[in-house]
Symmetry: C2
Subunit: 416 residues, 2 copies
Amino acid sequence: MIKATIITIGDELLIGQVIDTNSAWMAQQLNKAGIPVLRRVAVGDRYQEIWQSLDEESAKADIILLTGGLGPTADDITKPLLCDYFNGKMITHEGALANVTHLFENVFKRPLTPRNIKQAEVPDTCTVLINPRGTAPGMWFEKDGKIFVSMPGVPHEMKGLMEEEVIPQLQKRFSLPYITHRTVITFGIGESMLADKIQDFEEALPAHIKLAYLPNYGIVRLRLTTTGENKENTDQEVDRLSAELQELTKEHLIHHEDEPMEKILARLLVSQNSTVATAESCTGGYISHLLTSIPGSSAFYKGSIIAYSNELKTDLLKVSNQTLRNEGAVSEAVVTAMAEGLLHAVNANYAIAVSGIMGPDGGSPEKPVGSVWIAVGNADKLISRCFHFRFDRAKNIQLTALNALNMLREFIKQQS
Amino acid sequence: MIKATIITIGDELLIGQVIDTNSAWMAQQLNKAGIPVLRRVAVGDRYQEIWQSLDEESAKADIILLTGGLGPTADDITKPLLCDYFNGKMITHEGALANVTHLFENVFKRPLTPRNIKQAEVPDTCTVLINPRGTAPGMWFEKDGKIFVSMPGVPHEMKGLMEEEVIPQLQKRFSLPYITHRTVITFGIGESMLADKIQDFEEALPAHIKLAYLPNYGIVRLRLTTTGENKENTDQEVDRLSAELQELTKEHLIHHEDEPMEKILARLLVSQNSTVATAESCTGGYISHLLTSIPGSSAFYKGSIIAYSNELKTDLLKVSNQTLRNEGAVSEAVVTAMAEGLLHAVNANYAIAVSGIMGPDGGSPEKPVGSVWIAVGNADKLISRCFHFRFDRAKNIQLTALNALNMLREFIKQQS
């Protein structure tokens, strides 16, 4: 089977200044095209180390994809290094130059400098992949039967080159197998209990099908992975196993596809032609952000009142001062009043309201950091629940949002 | 110099199901402790490949940190592999068992199963690092003068082990140098123009100081990195150079520390004892989320009205139907009215209002996808500006938020 390695170049990765999101996206695309990724390697902007990684990775994989180090500044050394590695000499590529000129004249609207023009220089031993989104062209090299493709690290430039050039050309070159995954999502059951529950299923799996557990703070994703020559047969077998797995986990099953909770809820709302609004205190707009990160969210999302201060809880959501004083902002009475106030202020079918203490400060012995009240429901009925998370601020916010979305998902399911 | 490599284990990384955020955090901590990271490698859950990576990476680095593959399920093979690699046999570790028992009894409040108890088994050739946050203990091995530490992949468990065990023990063992970075953040100037501007400075830098450019959609971070024996002298030299760099880039300088825009604005607001609120349409709560991701944000953030639908723009922000009809939701008149309405509804010193078309759908020839109007200001004065972003939905939302926060930062600076 044809295999790939991804090499990411840049000191920023080795000092932790940047999180590498490119590799995950590239790995997904390669997988979809039938090319498994063997390894991912990050190296610094150092000549000797990049060179060595090219030697090492091409000894293991057939395709080596590189990103990074193609900028116009002195710390970008990928291009001269590749020129040496593939015994070339630098030439100005006419197509790349036309692209750079066009970008500066028509898109960036800035004068073209010698440094920009140099971006159109490439080793004469590569095939240029024109990058319409940026000044650094992609470069395709071949050596000893191995393919090396260098791309810029700017995400949308890399993505454009992958989709328009790299993947189509690899598909043309090789006869690739069909790799596919099925993911079943469970919630509220630990990884080890789940493993006990599906032990017989797991042991009976054919050798060519791999089962993986991906636990993540209450959610466990179970992934079946398989490879075959024929799409139809491969899909049929893995769909049958996925159905079996869904049946075995049905008490904890929340979805049969690898989708985030907000998409699962959005799909449910759209299927009912319903809308939602949120009244957020401790999540500070994060639930609203998750829902509006989905294209076309205006079909199911109306808006939110982010009542972070108590003032806004009383002014905009009509929570009474007395309730706030007697019960405290993090209480069942307050989240319920927030949800009610929201449904009065905003014409939506469903409401989500949250109030909690996300940390690091603000906790008390009775209401420690991580305490959260969530209410969900509609004009007829509201349900509420208290949670205690025990992580850092960012994770507590994420978990509050996840559980709030899931509570509404369950509420809607139970109504219908 | 003592050097480290980070090996991350898990098929989910090679199919792109998960983004690796652990490595960046680990690299930061190692750097702070004076240990540069040489490489980061991700490998799948495959015995032979993990084994080979241990051989290869320990030939290059002194310290090999591993995460992942320590769960209680069949796809977790790191522990048995390490047992073989370091010629051990599996024994139950009393401290680890006591920890697992405590967690199930007092924290998870679930029955302890044989599978959980097995989590307390470790190779007898390792030193156990107790993990109070989870069932998988950390394991410290030594071989041929190299140190190998295996940790679980669950972020808060790994972080706890790094902070409480791994870093302190490495600091005790080695006499480590002082590594430090200074980052200067610019906005609104391209990487190549910036490079031209600071070319003399860059060429005159001493050999032991490295300058890196990190461009990211309008922001360019310039990072100076240096290593020394003595903290005071090292800091002095790099602070002097950073000041020089700030002077050279002052027209475009927005900050002299590597902090996200929301923190820069938050610091400014707190220093003035001022507060902000937001009226968001197209960003759907993302600006609010960024501001409330900062601990203690209630000191400067009041709340928001996320008026995603036009209904909410009229009902809650009092934008007139006529303005919406005549000008369209994405217009200077509407964002200005949103900001005014917000300052009436919410008792905050400053307002941010945004309305735009984030895509992929909803664009028109006059207002293509990526068109955004932003207004910022206070009760006395509002300023507004139109932007045209040309990326995907997620990036357009991020850029709108970034520019809105920066517009308010500039507005406040000009007022004072």
